[in-house]
């Protein structure tokens, strides 16, 4: 469960990262591809080499969606409804991969936030990303 303080912290962090959404997103994706090569199988149609425009655009999309969800976490199911449909019926990414991206995203956050990535922030982010992933997978079955 997320406390009000945690929700505020999450919202504040993602608001601050919105201007660098492409960089953070691309960094997280690159880390995921390097550590978990199986995840690359979903991207055979894109150029996912470092600094490619595809990677930056895709990273930006993902981070902006996460940031949007953070604006009002109690409304996640409503906010994510279109993305739920997309992932369940079109993309059909095995939802086990959401955990891999979540971890990679946490590493990117840790790298960029450094000391600010306190245990409290870490716990809050981990909980939020888990909730996000769970909602995203809701329409799969």
């Amino acid at each position: 469960m997320l406390s009000k303080r945690e929700k505020d912290l999450i919202k504040e962090i993602w608001e601050r990262l919105t201007p660098v959404a492409a960089e953070i997103g691309a960094d997280a994706l690159l880390r995921m591809f390097a550590s978990y090569p199986g995840t690359k199988t979903y991207f055979s149609h894109l150029d996912i080499s470092p600094n490619s425009s595809h990677l930056l655009a895709h990273g930006k999309k993902i981070v902006l969606a996460i940031a949007e969800g953070a604006q009002d976490i109690s409304q996640l199911t409503v906010t994510l409804a279109p993305l739920q449909t997309l992932h369940a019926y079109q993309l059909r990414i095995d939802p086990r991969n959401f955990k891999l991206l979540s971890h990679s995203m946490l590493v990117s956050l840790a790298c960029y936030l450094g000391d600010e990535f306190t245990p409290v922030a870490h716990a809050a982010m981990d909980k939020y990303l888990s909730a996000f992933a769970a909602v995203l997978a809701e329409k799969y079955r």
Binding site: R31, C111, G114
Partner: protein, 148 residues
């Protein structure tokens, strides 16, 4: 047998050379207990774990964090024989301590995050992360191997 590329061996050695076991170890263990509070079940003898501040200031947590992190030294020095190196520890964690081996994986994640926060993206690059996580995954696997 685990296959390590030269680049991976180099990355692991380089990161290990920078890591202060007495700093990262306590941080990682504290994070495990804060972010995954159910892990506290194994540390009833450690005293006050009731708040984040209590956990972060708890000397037993710090000492144990240092011990666990220091134990990785054996793995770094025996990259080609991690299974054997950790066999006894695996038996101990299974038969004496009764630790759910999934906790090893989760602690490994906490360690990686502490390392990432400490060294930032220019040191903890995607490739460095890959090598480091592969290394920890082998240790985690070795620790879980003697469970049955």
């Amino acid at each position: 047998m685990v296959e390590w590329t030269d680049a991976e061996r180099k990355a692991i050695a380089s990161l290990w050379g920078k890591i202060d076991v007495a700093e990262i170890g306590p941080q990682a263990l504290a994070r495990l207990l804060i972010v995954y509070p159910w892990a506290q079940r194994y540390f009833k003898a450690f005293g006050d774990l009731s708040t984040n501040a209590a956990i972060m200031g708890n000397p037993k947590v710090a000492q144990h964090g240092k011990t666990v992190m220091g134990g990785l030294e054996n793995a770094v020095k025996n990259l080609d024989n991690i299974k054997q190196t950790y066999a006894k520890l695996s038996v101990m964690h299974s038969e004496k301590l009764h630790v759910d081996p999934d906790n090893f994986r989760v602690l490994a994640e906490c360690i990686s995050l502490c390392v990432a926060a400490k060294f930032g993206p220019s040191v903890f690059t995607a490739d460095a992360q890959e090598a480091w996580q592969k290394f920890l995954a082998v240790v985690v696997s070795a620790l879980g191997r003697q469970y049955h």
